[in-house]
């Protein structure tokens, strides 16, 4: 036990509160698990130079998305790439109410708690958030992460006739699972597509032999 170990650093209250949520034991009963499916829109792909412009997240529990338990934040960033704005349609002048990066992180940590995080190409979104946390003097996220692009590959049948691609885009998943792409390229819209795809993928994985929640979360 590390009861007597002194913390190296004094983190702010919101972080310690977040940290405390991980002290209780996690359940491996699938319907009990709260998954938070999220997506970030950013100014680019450089973890150090680029910034998060918006975060959208939905909670999935027992195959159900409760809309009242969703998260959408638009961040105020001085730093802007004109190019990226074209893709995501996020304009500085837009009427969306913007909050500071720190405020967004505080709200986001409060929202996610100890949930299992899910994202498409999760590594990217995770790093973006972690870099933002680090900039404000916080350590990395403590949550478990699942990546729908990896999980999807596990659902494919093994056949010599079907070459498995290295990457499957969110667009490809939306096509395969017949999900509307109307709100593509907004953080919450992409999170929604990912959430529906995630539920469908999970269903496919469950029917495979030797499926266990524990293994899934490893």
């Amino acid at each position: 036990m590390d009861l007597f170990k002194k913390r190296k650093k004094n983190y702010p209250d919101f972080w310690t509160e977040y940290e405390q949520k991980f002290e209780k034991k996690i359940s491996y009963d699938l319907p009990d698990i709260r998954f938070v499916v999220f997506d970030t829109e950013t100014t680019g792909f450089d973890y150090d130079a680029d910034r998060v412009l918006s975060i959208g997240a939905l909670s999935v529990q027992n195959n159900s998305i409760n809309i009242s338990d969703s998260f959408e934040a638009f961040l105020y960033q001085h730093f802007y790439h004109a190019k990226n704005i074209e893709i995501h349609g996020i304009l500085q002048e837009e009427r969306q109410e913007r909050i500071t990066e720190l405020e967004a992180l505080i709200q986001f940590l409060e929202y996610i708690g100890d949930s299992v995080m899910v994202a498409h190409h999760a590594g990217f979104d995770r790093n973006m958030i972690n870099h933002a946390l680090n900039r404000h003097g916080m350590p990395n996220l403590l949550n478990k992460f699942l990546d729908t692009s990896v999980l999807y590959k596990r659902t494919l049948i093994k056949s010599p006739l079907l070459p498995v691609k290295a990457q499957y885009s969110l667009d490809e998943l939306a096509e395969k699972f017949d999900i509307s792409k109307k709100d593509r390229h907004t953080a919450l819209g992409d999170a929604y597509i990912t959430a529906i795809a995630f539920m469908k993928i999970l269903q496919k994985l469950k029917t495979k032999k030797k499926f266990s929640t524990k293994k899934l979360l490893k």
């Binding site: 959208g56 939905l58 195959n63 159900s64 998305i65 409760n66 809309i67 009242s68 969703s70 959408e72 494919l156 049948i157 056949s159 010599p160 006739l161 079907l162 395969k176 017949d178 109307k182 709100d183 907004t186 919450l188 819209g189 929604y192 529906i196 539920m199 469908k200 269903q203 029917t207 495979k208 032999k209």
Partner: protein
């Protein structure tokens, strides 16, 4: 909470009653409280006598089947936008019906606590709910319809009664998109419109009010006979005055009205008199469609369908028809002919719709091929789609451009097939895959390679591809390819040995003591795999034997065996037994598939009756005999027991 997703939910809901009566703002607030629920096919949403959930449901995607005790009779099938599970919440009672996902479904669960104030505030919402409760939802899927499924069969007394009751209650569905013209429109223009829109009547209106109607019959009687020239105006030809009825009429009322005035079209107006605006037309065809499932009506409905959604409802009726045929023990040969014909018509229609959606017409001729069970006309239930596309040879520099066009077309078609119920092929054997969308020269190379290098993959690919059948397009391309395949196989007879050994790879259906062999693990542990263990050996055997006899254009397994019996009189008995076994197994599979709303591939043995088990086992004997014959004939040595 208002956000991108709740706005999207509100956008969906406002298209459907009673939500269309709710103000945008309230609807958005309500949408923020909704849960989006994913249900797997067959999953129970609520059971009979279960305590009511704190929310009711709207189908967003997919379909939900409602059933009533005691014997799970289907009372309704809810589609996109339909509400269910609301009545018990208003009446404060337990569920009186069960609800199950009929296919993979996404539901919106709307909390009743948030919805109740809306009912109180909007009178129209309350009225809608009271009306829909009072009339009870329409149910063309109920048992009482089965008597009508097969034309010429006499419905039993009991069915007859409930049927009439139902028809009296059911509101009739009418076309809301009116095709109209003015009194001065020329007959030629009218006839063109009728042809374009595929309708049998045009309403003549003046100041929005109906003044006359022109039907196919009028054109035949008054124009084709020379009574009036083709340039004459509508006013000279139309039947007038129009016989009008109010919108709210039942099927029986509509039928009676048509009989009374011996007309085939009814015009519906707001208050039922010709002095109010016309809002719809009911044709005899609409009523026929409402009443019965007969192939002729369904074919007509398929050809009229201009979108995938409409085709989907027709496909459901095809399934009802199939169920009726099986219940009445109509011979399977006839049943599968009719159902395949209807399935085929659906595919053709989808391709036609897809072609219309392309911005340009195809650069060269092409043929759409159905493979696998569809190609063998053995597909009775919804299964995976396997298809391929072949197009005419083009100069090398145009090849990729041409392929891109056909891939785009194929993408629309496969999506359409998916929408009406054919799952995507998990191994991507679909024309939308560049590997399965080739020019005739490329296909020739490809099949030549398979036949001359028969490794396990090549044999597998051949066994899937060689059952192809033309669904749509240029028959010459297909004939050319078939001729090429026969020529090549004749030159490389060793291919048959490999194909035969592939046919012997299917695992055995029964063990040493004639017990069933069941799956050992996975999702279907302890189920019997009817397809792999019983049907595949017959299908594969028939294919290699007919190929070696150079029999062209027979794809159906049972028919192949019949042909073989003709060709080899000394084996007549075995082949006829094989043909019989194929039909019996196929029927077995179809019955089980319909019962469980799946492909019928996996059978729970403990659910079988003694008689069914004996029947199954009898077919295993035939399979063993057939496999013996293959081993000897094609000198297959590397065998599995």
């Amino acid at each position: 909470m208002k956000n991108t997703i709740s706005a999207r939910v509100a956008d969906f809901l406002k298209n459907y009653p009673p939500f269309n009566e709710v103000a945008d703002k309230e609807l958005e607030t309500l949408s923020g409280q909704i849960s989006i629920v994913y249900k797997v096919k067959g999953e129970v949403i609520f059971a009979n006598e279960e305590e009511a959930h704190p929310c009711f449901y709207v189908v967003h995607k997919g379909a939900v089947v409602l059933t009533k005790e005691p014997d799970d009779e289907v009372v309704d099938l809810c589609d996109e936008g339909d509400i269910f599970g609301l009545r018990p919440l208003i009446a404060n009672e337990n569920y009186k019906i069960g609800a199950k996902a009929y296919e993979e479904t996404i539901l919106y669960a709307i909390p009743i606590a948030e919805f109740k104030p809306i009912i109180q505030e909007h009178k129209a919402v309350g009225t809608f709910l009271i009306e829909s409760f009072a009339s009870n939802t329409r149910n063309p899927y109920s048992k009482s319809y089965r008597g009508k499924l097969y034309e010429g069969s006499v419905p039993t007394e009991e069915n007859h009664l409930t049927n009439n009751e139902l028809l009296d209650l059911q509101g009739v569905h009418y076309s809301k998109k009116l095709i109209t013209c003015s009194e001065n429109t020329t007959i030629k223009t009218i006839a063109t419109t009728m042809t374009d829109r595929k309708v049998g009547s045009v309403l003549v209106v003046k100041d929005m009010l109906p003044v006359g109607i022109i039907t196919d019959k009028d054109i035949r009687n008054k124009i084709a006979t020379g009574l009036f020239p083709i340039t004459t105006r509508a006013t000279n030809v139309m039947s007038s005055p129009v016989i009008t009825y109010p919108i709210k009429m039942t099927i029986t009322q509509a039928q009676m009205a048509m009989m009374k005035s011996s007309i085939s079209h009814l015009c519906l107006t707001i208050d039922g008199t010709p002095n109010t605006e016309a809002v719809g037309i009911i044709s005899k065809h609409d009523i026929m469609f409402e009443l019965g499932n007969n192939p002729a009506v369904l074919i007509k409905a398929i050809k009229r369908a201009n979108g995938f959604k409409k085709l989907k409802t027709v496909r459901r009726r095809i399934m009802n028809l199939l169920q009726g045929y099986l219940n009445q023990n109509i011979p399977l040969t006839l049943t599968s002919k009719i159902i395949s014909e209807l399935n085929d018509a659906c595919i053709k229609q989808i391709i036609k719709i897809a072609l219309k959606r392309m911005t340009t017409s195809p650069p060269v001729n092409f043929a759409w091929l159905a493979m696998g069970s569809q190609g063998r006309s053995e597909q009775l239930l919804h299964t995976d789609q396997d298809n391929a596309l072949v197009f005419e040879n083009v100069p090398r520099e145009q090849l990729e451009e041409t392929r891109t066009y056909f891939l785009e077309l194929a993408k629309i078609v496969t999506k359409g097939l998916f929408k009406i119920g054919y799952e995507y092929c998990p191994a991507e054997m679909m024309a939308s895959n560049p590997e399965w969308c080739l020019s005739i020269a490329e296909w020739k190379d490809r099949t030549f390679h398979w036949i001359t290098n028969p490794g396990p993959d090549e044999v597998l690919l051949s066994s899937i591809f060689f059952d192809y059948n033309l669904s749509y397009g240029d028959a010459n391309l297909v004939n050319e390819l078939s001729a090429h395949i026969f020529e090549t196989t004749e030159k490389y007879p060793v291919f048959f040995m490999h194909l035969a050994s592939g046919a012997l790879q299917s695992p055995s259906p029964s063990g040493f003591f004639r017990s069933f062999l069941v799956e050992e693990d996975g999702e279907y542990k302890d189920f019997f795999d009817l397809k792999r263990r019983a049907l595949m050996p017959l299908i594969d055997g028939a294919r290699v034997l007919t190929l070696s006899h150079q029999v062209k254009s027979i794809n159906n397994t049972a028919e192949r065996f019949e042909k073989l019996a003709e060709l080899e009189t000394n084996n007549e008995e075995l082949f006829l037994a094989c043909s019989y076994a194929t039909k019996a197994l196929l029927k077995f599979r179809t019955k089980h598939g319909l019962l469980h709303n799946d492909s019928g591939r996996f059978i729970a043995l403990n659910k079988l009756t003694k008689e069914e088990k004996i029947k199954l086992k009898r077919s295993f004997k035939t399979i063993k005999d057939l496999q013996e014959l293959l081993k000897i004939r094609f000198k297959v040595t590397n065998l599995l027991g």
